[in-house]
Amino acid sequence: MTARIGVVTFPGTLDDRDTQRAVGIAGAEAVPLWHRDKDLKQVDAVVLPGGFSYGDYLRAGAISRFSPVMESVIAGAKSGMPVLGICNGFQVLTEAHLLPGAMLQNDRMRFVCREQKLRVENAGTAWTTEFTAGQEIRIPLKNMDGRYTADERTLDALEAEGRVVFRYVDTNPNGSLRDIAGVTNEAGNVVGLMPHPEHAVEPLVGSGGTDGLGFFTSILRKLVSA
C-alpha cells in the first residue's frame, strides 16, 4: 500500500498539477483536494502548492487561509499530519499561523524567477529526511512576495530550535531575513518554503535537475515505514 498525499487547489492555484505529477513520480498517490471541501479524503499528508490563490490580492495566502479545506488542514496539522507549503502554500501556512513569521514583497520589488541554491539546515523534518544536513541543492524559485520576515525573538528561537529548514546560498533573492528559505513548526510535521521542489523532479523539464524529488520521497518513506 502506498501513501496518499493530498494536493489542495484553491482558486488561482497554479502548481497543483505539477505537484500531483511530482507526488506520482516519487511513487505516492496524489489525491486532489478542493478548497471548498472540508473532507480530506483520508490522505496521509497534504501539500499546499504554489500559485496566486485569489490573485494574491490583499496579501498572498490571506484569503485562502479562510477556506473550508484549511479548517481541516489546520486541525490535521495540529494533530501531527505532515503538511508541506510551497511558495503560495508557505504564505497560506504563515497566514494560518501554522508557521511563524510572515511574507512580504521581495526587497527588489520585482517578481523573481531563477534557479536557486539552497542549503538544507534540518534533515529531520517529515519532508527532508532524504537529504543530509548541510547538503546544497538547486531548485527553481519564483515569487513576488517571498521576503520572509519575523521579529528578532522569533528568529532567534527558530535558529535555536533548529527550525530553519532551508537557507538561500550565494544569492538572497528576495531579502528574506537571515537568508531563510523555509521553516518548520515545533513538531517538524509542517514545513513551508518559497522555492519549488515540484519543478525539479525530472531531468528534462523545469530546471533540469532532480533535487526536488527528495521532498516527496522523504514523506513517502516516512509514511510507508510508519
Binding site: L14, D15, K142
Partner: protein
C-alpha cells in the same frame, strides 16, 4: 437622449447622429443607412462604428492579407485556418496546437503596466476560445532608445505587467524579444503571443447554431471600459468635447481570467459548449454579431440581463464596453444548468443573456424595447474594404545607396576587440535576463526550453515526449531597408530558431506593426512586407494560420520602422532530443554552417559603431534556410550535435559569446580561410548557425553536410575560459559576462 428604439429610428429619419465622432466616414455611415433601409439607432451605430473600425475590420489591410490564403502552401497540418480566433495545426498523436500573436501597442504607451497586462489577457482568451488549454506565452517587445528617460517609464511597467498577468495565470513565458530603437520612442510595440494545446476533437469555433440554444455571458461584470466614443451617444447633446467619466484605461484582473480558463476548460471537457467567443475589442458588439453571423440562425439578446459594474451605463455603452475577462458561450438549453454550476464552482458570474433563433436577424432589447435589428453579417463581415494608395517612398533609393559595407572598419586587432566589446554590451545584444527573470518559465512543469534559448519548447505529451517549439523574430532595421526582404528575413530567422532547437517548423503567425495606412509610403511598406511573408511561407511550406495588424504606430508624421514580427511554430517528436544553446563540454568542435558574405546593411555593428542605417539587408535564400533546418533537425535527432545557436543580428561573435557564457566554457576560434576576422565576426549573412560537435560525431556530421551540400566550416573548439580569436584577441568569460549582463540592469535599475 431618450431611448432610441428601432421603431423610433424608422420614424425619425432626420435625427442627426454623431457618426463622425464615432470614427465613421460619411460614405461608411451612408452604407449603414443603405443596409438598414433607415437610419441606425444609437445602439446600432455604436455596433457598426466599432466593428467597422480599422482594428476590428482590417479595412486597410484586408486586400493584402488575402495573399496569405491565396499563396498558402499545401499543408496537411492545417486544421483551422485564418479567420477564426486563432489558427489550429495538427502536431500528431491526436494533438492539435493553436497559437497567435497580438499587439497592445497604444494602450501600453498610455499605461504601461495595465496596457501590457491586458494584452496578455486578450491573447490568452483567443486561445481558450478555440478549445485549447493555454500552455505558454511569448512577448516580442520594442522600446525607444535604451537611454531615453521615457524608456525608463515604459519598459519596467510593460515587463511588470506582462509578468504580473502571465505569472498569475500560470503560463510559462518561453520567449520573446526586446529591441531598442529611437523609432519606437512614442510608439513602443507590445506584442504578446500565446500557445494552446488540445485534442483534435476538442476544437471549438465561434458560432451560434441551433435555434433555442442559450447565449451565456460569463466572467467579469461589464463596466465602462474603453468606451470613450459610445459615451457621446449616451449624452443628451452628442457633445464629444464633454469630459467622459468613462475610464480610458482598462485594468486587468488576471485572477478572474485564471478562473475563466479553468471553468471554460471544464465546460469543454463535459461537452457543454456549442460555440464560444471571447470578448476583446468591441466587446459584446463583436461577440454577438460574430457568433450570430457564423452560425446558422439569428440571435436575440436582452441587454438588461448583462451584469454591470456600473449601473449608469447606457445600452450603447454596454454594447461597446471593452471590459476584460469576459467570454460568451452558446449552450443547449438542457445543458445550461450544468454550465452555470461549473461557473459557480469557480466563482465565475454567468448569466443567460440571449438565445439563438431560427431567423437571420440579430435583435437586441433594452427595457423591453428593440434597439438593434440587423443582419449580423453586415456588422461582422461586410465592413468597408479599402484599396489604399501606395507608393514606394522617394527616400528608399537614397537609403539603399548609403551602403553600410563602405563604413570604416576596425584598423587593427585592438580596435576589433574594442568593437566586439561594444557590440556585445550594446542594449540590443546584451543579456535580457533582468527582464526575463521577471517571468515564470517553470509553471505547468512542461518547459523544456525557455529564454535565452533559440526557441521556447513545451512538452505536450509526457509519455511520448512529443513537444512544440515557438520562436518570434522581426528586424525593423532590415524591413526599413527593404520591407519585402525584411519580412522574409524575420520569417527565416524564426524558422531557423525553431530548427536550431531540433523542432520541425510547421506553421506561422504574425503581428504586423506599421505606421498610418493613410500614408502611401507606409502602405507600400505594408504591402511589400505581406507579399514577402506570403511568398516566403509558400516557399518554406509553412502556412500563415492567423495574426494581427497594428497600424497608426507613428508620432506625428513619423512612422516606426516597418516591423513585421513573425512567429514560427514547430514540432519535435521527442523533447529529449532538443538541442540547447549552451556550449556545455570542453573539447567539442565548433562548426559554422552556411556561407558568410560581406553583409552589413542594417547590422548591429553598423548601428552600434556608426549609428548608421543604410544599404541593403542581408540576402535571403529560403532554400538554403530549409536545408540548414533539415540538417539541424537530423543532427539533433541522431545525436550528432550537443549545442547549436543560430546567427542573426550581432553576427557570429554575438552567438558564440552567448553560448560560451551560458555553458560557462570558453572557445578558441580560428578565422576560416577566405574570410577576414571582421567579416567573420560581424557579418549578418542569413542562413547560418554554429554547432558544437562531439569529436566522436565529427565525421558522421561533416559527411552528412557534405552529402547534402551544406557548407560546414570548422571554426574552432570549446576550450578554456576565454573567447579567443586566434591571432586577434582574447576576452575572458568574466569580462564578457560583466559586459553582457551588466548593460540592461545598468540602464533600468
Amino acid at each position: 437622449m431618450s431611448l432610441d428604439t428601432v421603431e423610433n429610428a424608422a420614424a425619425t429619419p432626420d435625427t442627426p447622429l454623431p457618426w463622425k465622432e464615432l470614427g465613421l466616414k460619411e460614405d461608411e455611415y451612408l452604407r449603414v443607412r443603405e443596409i438598414l433601409g433607415r437610419r441606425p439607432t444609437g445602439a446600432e451605430l455604436a455596433m457598426y462604428s466599432v466593428m467597422w473600425s480599422e482594428h476590428c475590420s482590417y479595412k486597410s489591410s484586408k486586400v493584402h492579407l488575402r495573399q496569405f490564403g491565396e499563396k498558402a502552401p499545401q499543408s496537411d497540418a492545417m486544421l483551422v485556418g485564418i479567420g477564426e480566433n486563432a489558427g489550429v495545426v495538427d502536431v500528431g498523436q491526436g494533438y492539435a496546437v493553436t497559437f497567435k500573436v497580438e499587439s497592445h501597442n497604444h494602450p501600453s504607451y498610455v499605461e504601461p503596466y495595465q496596457g501590457a497586462a491586458t494584452g496578455v489577457g486578450g491573447i490568452v482568451r483567443d486561445i481558450i476560445a478555440m478549445g485549447a488549454r493555454p500552455v505558454a506565452v511569448v512577448d516580442p517587445l520594442r522600446f525607444g532608445a535604451a537611454d531615453h528617460p521615457d524608456t525608463k517609464r515604459v519598459l519596467p511597467g510593460v515587463v511588470a505587467g506582462i509578468g504580473g498577468y502571465g505569472n498569475c495565470l500560470g503560463l510559462p513565458n518561453i520567449g520573446g524579444e526586446v529591441v531598442f530603437d529611437a523609432c519606437y520612442q512614442g510608439n513602443p510595440l507590445v506584442n504578446a503571443g500565446a500557445v494552446g494545446v488540445m485534442r483534435h476533437e476538442d476544437i471549438h469555433l465561434a458560432k451560434a447554431s441551433g435555434a433555442g440554444n442559450k447565449v451565456i455571458l460569463y466572467g467579469a461584470r461589464t463596466g465602462g471600459d474603453g468606451i470613450g466614443g459610445a459615451s457621446i451617444l449616451a449624452s443628451e447633446t452628442f457633445d464629444a468635447t464633454k469630459p467622459s467619466k468613462r475610464p480610458a484605461v482598462q485594468v486587468g484582473d488576471p485572477f478572474q481570467e485564471k478562473l475563466l480558463i479553468e471553468c471554460t476548460l471544464e465546460a469543454f471537457a463535459e461537452k457543454l459548449v456549442v460555440g464560444i467567443q471571447d470578448l476583446g475589442a468591441a466587446g459584446l458588439s463583436c461577440a454577438t454579431s460574430e457568433l450570430a453571423s457564423n452560425g446558422s440562425g439569428g440571435m436575440t439578446v436582452v441587454l438588461d440581463d448583462v451584469p454591470l459594474r456600473d449601473s449608469t451605463l447606457s445600452p450603447e455603452e454596454i454594447l461597446m464596453s471593452e471590459s476584460q475577462e469576459r467570454m460568451c458561450a452558446v449552450v443547449e438549453p438542457e445543458k445550461v444548468e450544468r454550465f452555470l454550476a461549473i461557473c459557480e464552482k469557480w466563482d465565475v458570474i454567468a448569466t443567460v443573456v440571449g438565445e439563438v433563433t431560427d431567423g437571420d436577424r440579430l435583435e437586441i432589447f433594452w427595457h423591453g424595447e428593440k434597439i438593434v435589428d440587423v443582419d449580423p453579417r453586415t456588422v461582422a463581415h461586410d465592413g468597408p474594404v479599402y484599396e489604399r494608395p501606395l507608393a514606394r517612398p522617394e527616400w528608399q533609393d537614397a537609403l539603399q545607396a548609403d551602403d553600410a559595407n563602405k563604413l570604416p572598419r576596425p584598423a587593427d586587432a585592438a580596435a576589433l576587440k574594442e568593437q566586439v566589446k561594444r557590440v556585445i554590451g550594446s542594449p540590443n545584444q546584451a543579456s535580457k535576463a533582468w527582464i526575463t527573470d521577471q517571468y515564470d518559465r517553470y509553471v505547468q512543469g512542461n518547459t523544456v526550453l525557455a529564454q535565452p534559448e533559440d526557441s521556447g519548447m513545451i512538452r505536450v505529451d509526457a509519455e511520448s515526449g512529443l513537444g512544440v517549439a515557438l520562436a518570434t523574430d522581426g528586424n525593423g532595421r532590415y524591413a526599413k531597408l527593404d520591407p519585402y526582404t525584411g519580412a522574409q528575413l524575420a520569417l527565416a530567422e524564426a524558422y531557423r530558431n525553431v530548427a536550431t532547437t531540433g523542432a520541425r517548423p510547421l506553421a506561422v503567425s504574425d503581428c504586423l506593426n506599421f505606421g498610418s495606412p493613410e500614408d502611401p509610403a507606409v502602405m507600400w511598406q505594408f504591402s511589400e512586407a505581406v507579399r514577402g511573408l506570403a511568398d516566403g511561407c509558400r516557399q518554406l511550406g509553412t502556412p500563415v494560420t492567423g495574426g494581427n495588424v497594428s497600424l497608426y504606430n507613428q508620432t506625428g508624421d513619423v512612422a516606426i520602422h516597418p516591423t513585421p514580427v513573425v512567429a514560427v511554430l514547430g514540432v519535435i517528436d521527442d523533447v529529449a532530443r532538443r538541442t540547447p544553446v549552451a556550449f556545455a563540454e570542453q573539447g567539442q568542435l565548433l562548426y559554422l554552417l552556411g556561407d558568410t558574405k560581406e553583409e552589413f546593411g542594417g547590422s548591429a555593428w553598423s548601428e552600434v559603431i556608426h549609428e548608421h542605417l543604410g544599404g541593403l539587408p542581408p540576402a535571403v535564400d529560403l532554400e538554403r534556410e530549409r536545408l540548414l533546418g533539415d540538417i539541424l533537425i537530423s543532427a539533433s535527432r541522431d545525436g550528432m550535435i550537443d549545442a547549436a545557436h543560430d546567427l542573426s543580428d550581432g553576427g557570429l561573435i554575438t552567438s558564440v559569446v552567448e553560448s560560451a557564457l551560458l555553458g560557462g566554457n570558453g572557445v578558441r576560434l580560428v578565422v576560416p580561410e577566405g574570410l577576414d576576422a571582421f567579416t567573420f565576426l560581424f557579418s549578418e549573412s542569413a542562413g547560418r548557425a554554429v554547432v558544437a560537435v562531439p569529436r566522436s560525431e565529427e565525421l558522421r556530421f561533416t559527411d552528412m553536410c557534405g552529402a547534402r551540400g551544406l557548407p560546414a566550416t570548422r571554426i574552432g573548439v570549446v576550450d578554456g575560459d576565454a573567447v579567443e580569436v586566434q591571432g586577434e584577441f582574447a576576452l575572458s568569460l568574466g569580462e564578457l559576462r560583466e559586459i553582457h549582463e551588466g548593460t540592461v540592469p545598468g540602464l533600468l535599475a
